[in-house]
């Protein structure tokens, strides 16, 4: 599948090509990812948006090499600065994970160890990956906590996770993710467990810190608002496929895939008074029986005959706004209702 990006001449931090992941269950095969391709550049935030089961989190797990049996990468490649990751042996991958790619998860309580102070966790992580003395690592931990906006970091470094509020814990998790100066941070629903006021703070911290360090971010979320606030580009996923990818502003102003349009219309707005929200009929297909052709065709108001048979190719415009839809094809566009 050819993907056209608005590619600057520099090589991307992360290049994912035709990645497919399947889970081999006793009764059936679940296709969690199907031919997914995208790039993330230095300092860029790529948002992955979609509903439950769309494959957002699996994409993150596949990139970082955490697909467990019965799941398997069945095709494609993942490259970090040109180095192929998906074929690396687990021990080598373990050195990359945490060092060059790190993760921020939804629930900060489960990603922090309740028995160690936040300082110990930061120091341990840094010393496992970097050549630092304990004293130097501790100084750096205090600096990092300061960077992510924790007040009185020289005292907070000795706090246990339960002594911190949800927002403060998530700041610690961000500090943990950044402490080894990784090339890429995968943030999987980093603000979903937080209140809106705290969410705004966390988005700000993550964005500022990564921009300062030039860290690329893969932001996995179901919240289009968070994407609009934080991401540079967005990939919309449906049933394990990327249906649309482009600059956030372009996708929000001019969503080209019928699913993206439905998704945007389904979100209640703060300014406009709408009587009814756009309703996408039906439900997300089971990943063990994805419809033929375009996976969205049974729910699509514009579906016509090729949609049921042929999987749409991706079509990109000059700005790199790419969509996988038969209707978006210039020739067939004339038939669009």
């Amino acid at each position: 599948m050819p993907t056209t990006q608005s590619s600057p001449p520099v090589e991307p931090v992360l290049a994912v090509r035709n990645l497919s992941v399947a889970f081999y269950l006793r009764r059936n095969i679940v296709t969690a990812l199907d031919n997914v391709s995208f790039d993330i550049h230095r300092g860029e935030v790529l948002g992955m948006v979609g509903e439950s089961g769309a494959g957002k989190s699996v994409t993150g797990a596949a990139v970082i090499g955490l697909i467990d049996s019965p799941g398997r990468i069945t095709g494609g490649s993942v490259e970090l600065h040109g180095q192929r990751l998906d074929t690396l042996p687990p021990e080598v991958m373990r050195r990359i994970r945490g060092r060059r790619i790190s993760m921020v998860f939804q629930d900060p309580l489960t990603s922090l160890d309740p028995l160690f102070t936040v300082g110990d966790q930061l120091i341990e992580t840094m010393r496992a990956h970097l050549d630092l003395t304990r004293r130097a690592a501790r100084d750096r931990a205090v600096d990092l906590l300061d960077d992510v906006g924790i007040p009185a970091p020289d005292r907070r470094v000795n706090s246990y996770p339960h002594e911190l509020s949800g927002g403060m814990r998530q700041r610690v998790v961000i500090a943990l993710a950044l402490c080894t100066e990784p090339d890429l941070v995968i943030a999987d629903e980093p603000t979903t467990a937080l209140d809106v006021a705290v969410q705004a703070q966390i988005i700000g911290v993550l964005k500022d810190q990564c921009a300062r360090r030039g860290t690329a971010i893969m932001l996995v979320t179901h919240d289009m608002g968070v994407i609009a606030e934080m991401a540079d580009r967005v990939a919309v996923m449906y049933a394990g496929r990327i249906v649309e990818i482009g600059r956030v502003r372009d996708v929000i102003a001019d969503p080209r895939h019928p699913y993206t349009r439905g998704l945007m219309g389904a979100i209640p707005s703060l300014d406009a008074e709408t009587d009814r929200l756009v309703q996408i009929p039906g439900t997300m297909p089971r990943l063990s029986s994805i419809p033929s052709g375009c996976a969205f065709h049974p729910r699509c108001p514009h579906a016509f005959s090729p949609c049921t048979r042929l999987r749409p190719a991706t079509i990109a415009d000059a700005a790199g706004h790419t969509v996988a839809c038969h209707l978006a094809h210039p020739v067939q566009g004339a038939q669009a209702p």
Binding site: A197, P268, E273
Partner: protein, 326 residues
């Protein structure tokens, strides 16, 4: 506002005792601790209207919902629904008759439905509990009607909750709420566990049902856009207090309380491109030792001396000294 309000909540408060165990209090001299989850809240809801309530976690939204439906007994204040004070012990018989007409929809449809019961039993339970129908054929017909009403198939009757998706389960919860012909429904974060496209289906369904059946909703959510979509009037809660209550349009265009303004500024906006927005400062304090005076004063950009000492009263729906003095 000529008619009597359908639901009237007046000075409603609820305190919880969160003291450490007796032995610790005696030997370690720890004082008793009380948490005021809801603090002197008053509002009215008119028939057929939706009142929205927003607030962050710990602001007392859910406690308020439970007080209004009678799942919790208030420490002070009263709840009057259709002229019957459900909090008044002398009106017990009337308030028992009222029970049928009040129902609640919870956030988590995975927990609010008994997973060992079939759908028909879940939906029929209120019908049987209130003795509305006795013939099993009648009950069956009513259950079928209800399932159709919420967009499910009558054949779903014999299934168990685990066979449904989150959105369908929430439909079952709505069918159950309507089965005793309830006309006042308290919805506590009904769509927070759902995906946006499913959320849109449930919100549309709830509005359709309101139009068809004349339902009155108390709609609670942390999501401002959802509340804005559902409710004509909106109340904002902070640390157990209702800090502002206003018409939705007014609240969103010209928020009176600094906290409301802060909340609105914090919502990630699809049209905004990020960046230049006032940063929110601080977090919601512990409700065990709330700040004196106006509970918002430590985070408030407009706070002055009076805010630290004096709890502001509601004037024109806004409880803020700064807004009142201009």
């Amino acid at each position: 506002m000529t008619s009597l309000p359908f639901v009237s909540v007046s000075n409603l408060s609820r305190r919880f005792d969160v003291s450490t165990p007796w032995a610790r209090r005696v030997f370690l001299r720890e004082p008793r601790q009380r948490l005021t989850a809801v603090d002197a809240v008053s509002f009215d809801i008119h028939r057929g209207e939706t009142l929205g309530l927003v607030g962050e976690s710990g602001s007392g939204k859910s406690t308020l919902a439970r007080l209004v439906v009678g799942l919790l007994v208030p420490s002070a204040g009263s709840v009057t629904i259709d002229g019957v004070a459900i909090t008044d012990p002398s009106q017990t018989s009337q308030s028992q008759r009222l029970r049928r007409r009040i129902h609640m929809i919870f956030q988590n449809p995975y927990a609010s439905l008994n997973r060992r019961w079939r759908v028909e039993r879940i939906v029929a339970e209120p019908i049987k509990a209130f003795g509305l129908l006795t013939e099993s054929a009648d009950i069956r017909e009513r259950v079928d009607d209800l399932l159709r009403l919420v967009g499910l198939h009558p054949a779903d009757r014999t299934k168990y909750p685990h066979e449904f998706s989150g959105g369908q389960r929430q439909r079952i919860a709505i069918a159950r709420a309507l089965s005793s012909q309830a006309d006042f429904i308290v919805c506590d974060e009904p769509t927070s566990a759902l995906d946006v496209s499913v959320q849109a289906q449930i919100l549309n369904l709830m509005r359709d049902l309101q139009d068809r059946l004349g339902l009155t909703y108390l709609f609670i959510s942390h999501n401002l856009a959802v509340v804005r979509h559902m409710a004509r009037r909106i109340g904002v809660m902070y640390l157990g207090r209702l800090v502002e209550i206003a018409d939705g349009r007014t609240l969103f265009r010209r928020p009176g309380h600094p906290y409301t303004k802060m909340l609105l500024d914090a919502v990630p906006d699809m049209t905004g491109t990020g960046g230049a927005r006032p940063r929110v400062s601080g977090e919601i304090p512990s409700p065990i030792q709330p700040p004196s005076g106006c509970a918002f004063h430590p985070r408030c950009p407009r706070a002055f001396d009076r805010c630290r000492h004096e709890t502001p009263f509601h004037i024109n729906g806004v409880a803020c000294h700064a807004a009142q003095t201009g």
